[in-house]
């Protein structure tokens, strides 16, 4: 089911009504039923995938929990008789045994994910070169990358004993399949999400209203902005568009993916909020970032957190790495000190790249990100000297410059998404320095990309609106909270105006291809 379809809205409305009418202790069961309805709607053939992940996670965590309990019991009973060393050794043995369960579970699940993604490489390439490319047509089981990462994070947490394992398989099934985030995240942590899923929720008019408002805002970003500009992004991929046209493509794609991805997250987080559940924020106005590390703290946050907790930290503080650090420090000084971090970074970005897709361009994308992060870390001392010398940090325009610089850099890196053949990407990048065809901006080329003058006006207006709202959020906090203080009639009028804008200016219905969310294919 398309999240932008009328059927989905009706489904959500029905769920909300029933959710607040039934006894509160049954609410979680209703969510589970709704989530599976949603999943079945997407295609019964995918049911096996989510069931397998749920069951394997359940089995592995229960097995680990049983061992851990036995350990607790044993240690409590023999508290007086065993020494600290024996105690340590016993704990270590339990952990070793549990590691087997964890590894089986991880290998099984990531194996499935890898096979699914590997099977898509060829269709992805042919579709991209044939020009019929669409993320949705790839047919990856709905949300598999998201629910799988979420479940595996939970399995690791149980292994690490940082969360209490869930004994009720149905409750665990809800954690895995909770449908608002099934489409494109956010990837939640068990400790943060699970207690909310199972607790009774009282009807709260304000939360409901805020949730619905946020959904509407998400639809605005998705339907009015992202789906409108999609046609031009598609057209600009053609081999004839080089130089300035390629630069325009990077900006348009930045707009599209922002509208598409943050819009989809707004819909998911908004719906969850209407249900009384707070999902983690996935974006904090990422295009306002001033450096790449900051950008990655503000863009796709939940994936970054996952990578940090389960890839970056375990690698960088592992025994071999610590040894490497000690050895490197002696020989290479300060750089050696940072070496383990860089090694872990490369691994993390490799995995992040693979998560997006198994084609080489996504690996290149990950490595480019990693390269610039390491570069900026290595140069940070130089930067500070430079900034200090010219007092740049105190100048207002410099902040703007930094933001613009980061926006352009990230655009140039991100665009590799669209070029499964990496050679094409580098050829286009090269053309930036050889082809100065600025005239395409005014010679009518822009009107041949599937966008009319009116489309550009709508896009410009929409972007101004999003920019204004983002500025207010940056300076004054929640816009919905500000509106809440105002006269209700004014509030309703503004919401209604936004609704009418989405209804009239959204790209949907006859003449538009049903375009799936970009991120639900990852």
């Amino acid at each position: 089911m398309q999240i932008t379809s009328f059927g989905f809205l009706l489904f959500a409305a029905l769920l909300l009504a029933v959710y607040y009418l039934i006894p509160k202790r049954a609410q979680w069961a209703l969510l589970l039923a709704a989530s599976y309805c949603f999943y079945l709607w997407a295609g019964i053939e995918y049911l096996g995938f989510i069931l397998l992940t749920t069951l394997s996670t359940y089995a592995a965590t229960m097995a680990m929990a049983a061992r851990q309990e036995k350990q607790e019991k044993f240690l409590a009973e023999n508290k007086a008789t065993i020494s600290r060393e024996e105690r340590k050794a016993y704990k270590a043995s339990v952990k070793r045994a549990n590691r087997v369960y964890l590894i089986i579970c991880l290998v099984l699940n990531f194996g499935i994910l890898a096979v699914c993604k590997a099977l898509l490489i060829e269709p992805f390439k042919t579709a991209a070169s044939a020009g019929t490319f669409s993320f949705l047509s790839l047919g990856l089981p709905l949300g598999i990358s998201f629910y799988m990462f979420q479940s595996m994070g939970y399995a690791v947490d149980v292994y690490r004993q940082t969360v209490k394992p869930e004994r009720n398989p149905f409750k665990l099934a809800l954690f895995v399949s909770f449908f608002p985030q099934l489409i494109q995240g956010p990837i939640s942590k068990f400790g943060q999400l699970a207690p909310q899923l199972y607790s009774p929720k009282k009807f709260d008019g304000k939360q409901l209203s805020f949730g619905l408002q946020r959904m509407l805002w998400g639809y605005f970003k998705k339907l009015v902005i992202a789906d409108r500009i999609a046609a031009a992004v598609f057209a600009l991929r053609g081999p004839e568009y080089t130089g300035v046209a390629f630069f325009v493509l990077t900006v348009f794609y930045a707009i599209q993916i922002y509208g598409d991805f943050t819009g989809g997250i707004d819909i998911a987080v908004g719906l969850a909020q209407a249900l009384g559940i707070k999902l983690p924020e996935n974006f904090i106005r990422p295009y306002f970032s001033k450096n790449i590390a900051e950008y990655w703290r503000r863009w796709h946050i939940s994936l970054g957190e996952w990578m940090k907790d389960y890839i970056f930290y375990p690698i960088s503080v592992s025994q071999p790495m610590l040894k490497l650090s000690k050895a490197a420090r002696k020989r290479m000084g300060n750089f050696g000190k940072r070496l383990p971090v860089y090694v872990a970074s490369v691994a993390t970005w490799l995995v992040t790249g693979i998560w997006h897709g198994l084609t080489p361009n996504f690996i290149v994308w990950g490595m480019l990100n990693c390269f610039f992060i390491v570069l900026s870390e290595e140069c940070s001392g130089l930067y500070e000297k430079f900034h200090g010398r010219f007092h740049l940090k105190e100048k207002k325009w410099y902040g703007g410059f930094e933001i613009l610089r980061m926006f352009i850099l990230m655009n140039l890196i991100r665009i590799v998404d669209l070029f499964p053949r990496v050679g094409d990407y580098f050829a286009r990048m090269g053309s930036l320095f050889t082809t100065f065809n600025f005239r395409i901006l005014w010679d009518g080329t822009m009107l041949q990309l599937g966008l009319s003058a009116l489309d550009y006006i709508i896009l410009a207006g929409g972007i101004v609106l999003i920019f204004t709202v983002s500025l207010i959020q940056e300076k004054k906090g929640s816009v919905r909270e500000l509106l809440w203080q105002k006269n209700p009639v004014l509030r309703y009028a503004l919401i209604f105006a936004l609704l009418v804008i989405v209804l009239l200016m959204g790209s949907y219905g006859f003449g538009y291809d049903a375009s799936g969310f970009i991120y639900n294919a990852f």
């Binding site: 009328f6 059927g7 009116l454 209700p488 009639v489 309703y492 209604f496 609704l499 009418v500 209804l503 009239l504 200016m505 959204g506 949907y508 219905g509 006859f510 003449g511 538009y512 049903a514």
Partner: protein, 352 residues
């Protein structure tokens, strides 16, 4: 305080809904300039008491004039035609008609037998707008629902689907940039643009030469077409209405002999009357230099009057349709229609 805020919420919701409804009315096409799309909706004002109902595509609403048949034979008739009406649409229109009246004769133009599925029509990108011209005008009923289900193209199904019909606002939402004066002028009230379903044309454009089309590989009508034709036969039988199959005397698109044969056989098998009016052009008296407004695709009002005069006789003699001119109530209603018809004809002739 709480009561007050709930009141404000409810009032605001009501105002918003009213505004949305208004917006929908504004954005829906009015079909006052491009009149073909307004035909289906005009039926309801003239339903009841019709002895003959014509159903089909442009070959019925451009070629038959109910007013002429009333004037000459006292036949009460109405046309439920719409552009590129497909056979399943015709069937559901027929089904719906029986809710409003039970005519003595149902006349169906068989040209649409050639289209077996929504996907097999020509000019696929035009299919949905044409479907709309037939379906949007229908009042809501099970028949309308089924007609939509049978008509939707694959693209529609994957898009808005039924919701686009339940809330036409969703379908027409982007017309806001193309609104014209007529959208405001006819926001609440439309003009009557047909004469009992007949869409008058007074222009003249003679036929130039022979019509040719590439021969087909297979002339057999599709299974789906026959399925709906069968259903029509059953439906009419169950209401005691005589079903008459016709092929209007339009020269293009070509009505192949192989098709004609299949209809002949079908009529014989099911004990129906099938009349290929292409065979009686001389008896009708059609002059292809003066009686068509688009070079042979459709008749103009002069041709339609000739054809109606000829066909009214068949209805009277072969089908036993009665002369109603003796009924004072009907006569009064029809006198008004006749007046409008002639006024329209005069006005259009003056304009052209």
């Amino acid at each position: 305080m709480k009561k007050k805020s709930i009141l404000i919420l409810c009032v605001s919701l009501a105002v918003c809904l009213a505004l949305l409804w208004l917006l929908q009315a504004l954005l829906m096409p009015k079909y006052m300039a491009n009149r073909e799309g307004a035909l289906i909706a005009e039926y309801y004002g003239n339903a009841g008491n019709n002895d003959v109902v014509f159903i089909g595509d442009c070959e019925v609403y451009e070629n038959f004039s109910p007013i002429t048949m009333w004037e000459e034979y006292g036949i009460t008739s109405i046309i439920r035609g719409s552009p590129q009406q497909l056979i399943w649409q015709s069937y559901y229109l027929m089904e719906e008609t029986f809710k409003y009246e039970t005519p003595k004769v149902m006349v169906f133009n068989v040209l649409s037998m050639k289209y077996d599925t929504p996907e097999s029509t020509k000019e696929q990108d035009q299919r949905e707008p044409y479907n709309r011209m037939t379906l949007d005008g229908m009042r809501w009923s099970v028949s309308k629902w089924n007609a939509i289900e049978a008509s939707m193209t694959q693209e529609e199904r994957e898009g808005l689907g039924m919701w686009g019909y339940i809330f036409p606002l969703l379908r027409y939402h982007d017309r806001w940039s193309q609104l014209e004066a007529e959208d405001f002028q006819y926001l609440f009230r439309k003009e009557q643009i047909s004469d009992n379903g007949y869409l008058m044309q007074t222009g003249v454009k003679p036929v130039m030469g022979e019509f040719t089309e590439a021969p087909l590989v297979d002339y057999t009508f599709g299974e789906n077409s026959y399925y709906y034709l069968d259903k029509m036969v059953e439906l009419c039988k169950s209401h005691g209405t005589q079903l008459v199959l016709i092929k209007a005397p339009s020269l293009s698109p070509i009505w192949w002999d192989e098709w004609d044969e299949q209809m002949e056989n079908y009529a014989q098998e099911h004990d129906l009357v099938y009349i290929n009016l292409l065979d009686s052009q001389e008896q009708i008296g059609i002059d292809w230099t003066t009686d068509t407004y688009d070079a042979g695709l459709h008749l103009n009002v002069y041709g339609a009057e000739k054809l109606s005069s000829y066909f009214g006789k068949i209805l009277t003699e072969k089908c036993g349709v009665a002369d109603r001119r003796g009924d004072p109530q009907l006569s009064a209603i029809w006198a008004e229609k006749v007046k409008i018809y002639h006024a329209r004809k005069e006005e259009m002739e003056a304009q052209s």
